[in-house]
């Protein structure tokens, strides 16, 4: 999160030769390895996408755009696109909302710095849990017959909610886990940032009879606009990694109601069908989409955050 001020306060000094050499020696190995590996990944994926390679057969032929044509007729692809979009929007928006509310609560509600620090430590535990663990934990909680999430309902004699087998609910039930992990974490980070803000503008606003929430809305949060935008951007990137949670919790089901693009590509390529060329064509599209969208967002975010 590069929210700190712009680098080197802009003296246009020329680099000395030894600095240039140092930069070359240190940057070259890492960057060339990264470039090599990412080229292998992208060229490899594109190459596969134009073939009809399947795990079951040793040979493969080039089939041109056939995979892509089929992709655009594929109902599951369209569905996965929609599921991924919903996932992205829901997890990013809810995470940031939770984070902002939690941060205000932490700063306003808990005065003792030591207690606040202790709470903060507890609240970053969820984000450190491996996604697989988190998925398993919540799958257990969501169980209609023995899950803790359903105890309150069954105690009142209400029928249990089928969190993970109801196609209307399942995606949001999984998204809640993601929000639980990241929202709490970002809440802690935001609270730390709010603590660093100068107090005078807020006090001034308070003298103008602004309510506490008003002070935050009009004064504190705008001061943190940069970090908040960067956090939103980071969350948007992390939300692309929904695979682990969905794989352990629903495996895309019920039906295809939680099947995101990467899960669908995985199921096609590795999990169930072994059609790795078809899956590659999907992942190539996914790659192109994310690169375009995030390049634009990155430029925008950098400008808004400035």
């Amino acid at each position: 999160m590069n929210h700190s001020a712009s680098p080197g306060t802009g003296q246009p000094r020329r680099l000395r030769p030894e600095h240039r050499r140092f930069a070359l020696v240190t940057l070259l190995p890492g960057l060339s390895l990264l470039i090599l590996l990412s080229l292998i990944a992208s060229v490899g994926a594109i190459n596969l996408a134009f073939q009809d390679r399947m795990l079951r057969f040793p040979d493969a032929a080039y089939v041109g755009l056939e995979n892509f044509e089929r992709l655009f007729r594929d109902r599951r692809f369209a569905n996965a696109l929609q599921v991924s979009a919903i996932w992205e929007v829901v997890t990013v928006v809810c995470t940031m909302l939770l984070a902002v509310l939690l941060a205000i609560l932490l700063v306003e509600g808990v005065r003792s710095p030591r207690v606040r620090n202790a709470i903060c430590i507890l609240l970053i535990i969820p984000v450190l849990l491996p996604r697989v663990s988190a998925g398993l934990i919540w799958r257990f909680l969501y169980s209609p017959t023995m899950g803790a999430a359903n105890y309150p309902l069954t105690m009142l004699g209400l029928p249990p909610i089928e969190f993970l087998s109801d196609p209307q609910i399942a995606l949001y039930a999984v998204a809640l886990v993601d929000i639980w992990q990241w929202g709490l974490f970002f809440g802690v980070v935001l609270a730390k940032l709010i603590e660093t803000l100068p107090k005078e503008p807020q006090e001034a606003a308070r003298l103008d009879h602004a309510g506490t929430l008003g002070v935050y809305w009009w004064v504190a949060l705008p001061m943190l606009r940069g970090p908040i935008i960067m956090m939103t951007f980071v969350k948007a990137i992390e939300s692309l990694r929904s695979f682990d949670l969905i794989y352990t919790m629903t495996a895309g089901g019920p039906g295809i109601s939680t099947e995101t693009l990467d899960l669908y590509a995985f199921q096609q390529g590795i999990g169930i069908s072994g059609r790795i060329s078809y899956a590659s064509s999907l992942s190539v599209l996914l790659m192109v989409m994310t690169v375009i969208i995030f390049s634009i967002l990155w430029k925008r975010a950098a400008r808004w955050a400035a």
């Binding site: 795990l55 079951r56 057969f57 040979d59 109902r75 249990p160 087998s165 089901g253 019920p254 039906g255």
Partner: protein, 436 residues
Amino acid sequence: MRNRARQRWLDTAALGLTAVWLAAAPDAQAQATAEACAGKVPEVRVIVQPMPATGHLDTIKGEFEAKWQTKVEIVQYGENDRRSRSRLDASSGAGAYQVYYIDEANVAEFAASKWVLPLLDYLPKDYDYEGFLDARKAVAQWNGTPYFAPITGGGDMMIYRKDVFAEKGIAPPKTLDELKQAIAALHSPPEMYGWTARARRGSGMNVWRWTPFFRAEGGQWFQDGEASFNSEAAVKATETYKDLFQFAPPGATTNTWSEVVESFRAGQVAVIVESDPLALWMEDPEKSRVVGKVGFAPPPEPLPSAGYAHGLALSASGNPDDCSKLVSADFIGWATSSEMEHRRFEAGLFADFARKSSLEDPIFKEKVPAEYIQALAGTSPRTSLLIYDGPEWPEIGDFLGLVLEEVLTGTRDDIQLSLDEAAEYANDIMRRSQRQ
């Protein structure tokens, strides 16, 4: 240091000599290599799915390890995962497993792709392959060649709560119509649900249980070279199958067979139709609340009984050398012998058996409810392989399974359109496959 080098050289020479000798004297082959191979195979890795039989194997594998001075590792995955992981291992040539657990649904795929070796060529000479039940042998082969040694299998059985039926004065149904009426009559949630069945996607999951309904309507997988499981018969079968889920417990629409067993054992469900080995799981006093209250009968007419078998096969890529083939095949022979089935019975595990001798086993006859044995006899003549038996089946079946799951969970309403899509997909797969 030098000693070890010499030893290695000697070993190589011995191996080379044995090989020459083997080629010359095929008769003495088994024994000679057996001696040379003890201690030569560091590890036999077996991928299985958790079944009473595989759990039992894990507890006694020490015997086999001692015999060959090898290490046996039994790696467990659930059914769907077991299939996809062994497929990935085989197709990638990784060869991480020497022995695969395969079944009627993927034996054609594995055999046609040459991922498994023709088993009889490698089994010990005195191994009794003929002793397997005919129904098991029938589904353990591809194009007439046996590829796995069955460890469990069976057909379908209606499993019902005798007490619940008696209380309402309802006789065990003999036909599908009677079954539907009984389910509706016995359904009184939340204490008792009329019915439950597999609904989770998968050629071995919802498709497996749906298939008898489909075949009962006269459905065919392929007609004139085109997929025909979008026929009227298929639509009707799907409607029936879906309708029955209104009598199932909450969450049933993502059931695997394991959860079907669970809810019956928990006493939540009045009647199910399931694979017959699972019927005996209901009699496990440690895990079942319905011991002694369970009735067994052949599936109601006109439902046919879906025959299947699971067993052990020899991986091609996992056994690159002769010793490894020999030891792995010996493991399969050991794990699927009639003695082993008898030992399982002695250990109180009756669900998994595949041999004629087991049906005659005195312990089996004594400990297993007579009603079960009778139902088994009634269901056997109606048992056959109901799925399409080509190498393309796993893919076709899995896709159909997905579509069925969508229909069952209510994310799709148009059954005809859904099945059309699955059939079109199957045609694609067949064309791709024939091009090879």
